[in-house]
């Protein structure tokens, strides 16, 4: 279980969020660009310091501003897949995946699992965007992370590639029992992948949805089909309402 509470002043607003994410759970931070989502991820990873906050992973304190504790990124042992490609250009695919791995068998297994075995000797600049993100996922998982952070990992990809990579994320969620936090501005994506969706507006959590609840009929207009599609529609409407509302909106569903 990852418990997070962060406050950080940005030039135009203050990021102020509290949430928790259990093992095997995928929590999506959903919001327009510039809402402070990436800042939250960077604080989680230890790449930025908040003004105040507390981050605890299974009882281990990563950050406690009151006690002046702030573990550097390397001691948090997490996987972070960035918005754009952050593979090492001087290393081939295999060496990128093996960069922080202590187990070569795991590296080989991940190369096969993500369908990038045949690219293992290529440099990152010689493969496609979707392939690069597969390598980035494999690289993050090879290091045996305790938490996985995905910062808009698919935003630069075409629809088809996105679809297949979403499948990968769902499979990762099932196979590796670790908390996954994903940043996205794509409601559709959040509804497909996440167990919990936190809409972030100007640095604040503007409501919380458990994706499962939205499968219900209560909020679905008659003219729309029931089931998953309908749930998605209801959530879209709700999030749209929140995201276009002024700040003083109080969460509740």
């Amino acid at each position: 279980m990852l418990e997070v509470s962060i406050r950080k002043k940005l030039p135009h607003f203050t990021v102020n969020v509290q949430f928790s994410c259990g093992s095997g759970q995928l929590l999506a931070l959903l919001g327009p660009s510039g809402a402070g989502k990436t800042t939250i991820m960077r604080v989680l990873a230890g790449l930025e310091k908040p003004d105040a906050g507390r981050i605890v992973y299974n009882g281990e304190v990563w950050l406690d501003s009151e006690k002046n504790i702030c573990l550097p990124p390397r001691q948090r042992k997490l996987g972070y897949v960035f918005q754009e490609f952050s593979l090492f250009p001087h290393l081939c695919v295999e060496k990128n995946v093996a960069f922080a791995a202590d187990n070569q068998a795991r590296v080989r297994e991940l190369l096969h699992r993500f369908g990038i075995w045949h690219l293992r000797n290529h440099k990152p600049q010689g493969i496609s965007g979707g392939e690069r993100q597969r390598v980035a996922l494999a690289q993050a998982l090879a290091a045996n992370p305790r938490v996985l952070l995905l910062d808009e990992p698919f935003s630069a990809l075409d629809v088809q590639t996105k679809e297949s990579l979403r499948g990968e994320v769902l499979a990762i969620k099932k196979q590796f029992s670790l908390p996954i936090i994903q940043v996205t501005h794509d409601l559709h994506e959040a509804s497909l992948l996440a167990d919990v969706v936190l809409p972030i507006v100007r640095g604040q959590v503007a409501g919380e949805w458990l994706a499962g609840i939205l499968q219900g009929e209560k909020t679905i207009p008659k003219e729309f089909p029931k089931g998953q599609e309908a749930g998605r529609y209801a959530m879209e409407q709700a999030v749209r309402r929140i995201m276009t509302r002024p700040l003083a909106w109080s969460p509740g569903i």
Binding site: R74, K77, G79, A140
Partner: protein
């Protein structure tokens, strides 16, 4: 000297030796210094930056004068050298190396700084998240991705040391075989109207410098990755 007679190449060889040693030591010094000045954030950073850039704007004679005093028997550097090796630094090959290093430092730092600044910070952040310490990240990520900058720095530093005149003349004098480098030898040839030797040595320096600049252009071209 009669045309066709083999000229004395020892000043040229001495210049090359000086440039090679100074460049090697400079890279060891310039790498951590430039890395610190590019990535670290501390108060008064601009003061340090201006200080290491001083050799770019000061007349070589000014640097040479201060070094002459510092390396002399009563200077701090001179006394230190006296304790270690039994003779002061001034008018020695070792002294010229120190002088060349100080005068060439900003020329070695500039290409390194450009290369460090061009490096995508996310690569470093990925390395940190993947568990690397800053030192490990420097060797495994920064250095391999700035090799062209490092090579450009080495080539420029070498060329600058080869062409050094004012500073090395002040602190080295002109002792044949020990401190009489090519640029000083040319000056002396001209002073004593030995134009033939001046021509030959100058031509050799022009050729070397031209090759060096070609190398820099080539390295800059190959710098971009994707």
């Amino acid at each position: 000297m009669v045309i066709g007679e083999v000229m004395d190449y020892s000043p040229l060889i001495l210049s090359a030796k000086l440039a090679l040693v100074a460049t090697g030591l400079l890279l060891v010094l310039a790498l951590p210094l430039t890395h610190g000045l590019t990535f670290a954030r501390f108060k008064g950073k601009f003061l340090v930056e201006a200080l290491v850039g001083l050799p770019l704007v000061l007349p070589p004679t000014v640097i040479g004068f201060y070094l002459l005093v510092a390396m002399g028997p009563d200077g701090g550097l001179g006394r230190l050298a006296q304790m270690v090796s039994g003779r002061p630094l001034v008018f020695t090959f070792a002294g010229m190396i120190v002088a060349s290093m100080i005068h060439t430092l900003p020329y070695a730092m500039q290409p390194l700084k450009t290369a460090f600044e061009r490096l995508d910070r996310r690569l470093l952040e990925t390395a940190y998240v993947l568990g690397l310490s800053p030192v490990a990240a420097f060797f495994r990520v920064v250095l391999p991705n700035t090799m062209n900058g490092l090579a450009a720095a080495a080539v420029l530093a070498f060329a600058h040391c080869m062409g050094e005149f004012g500073v090395v003349l002040m602190v080295g004098g002109s002792i044949p075989g020990e401190t009489r480098v090519a640029s000083i030898a040319i000056y002396e040839y001209v002073e004593t109207l030995r134009y033939q030797e001046a021509w030959q040595l100058s031509l050799a320096l022009v050729l070397i410098s031209y090759l060096v600049l070609l190398a820099v252009t080539f390295l800059n071209r190959g710098e971009r990755y994707a």
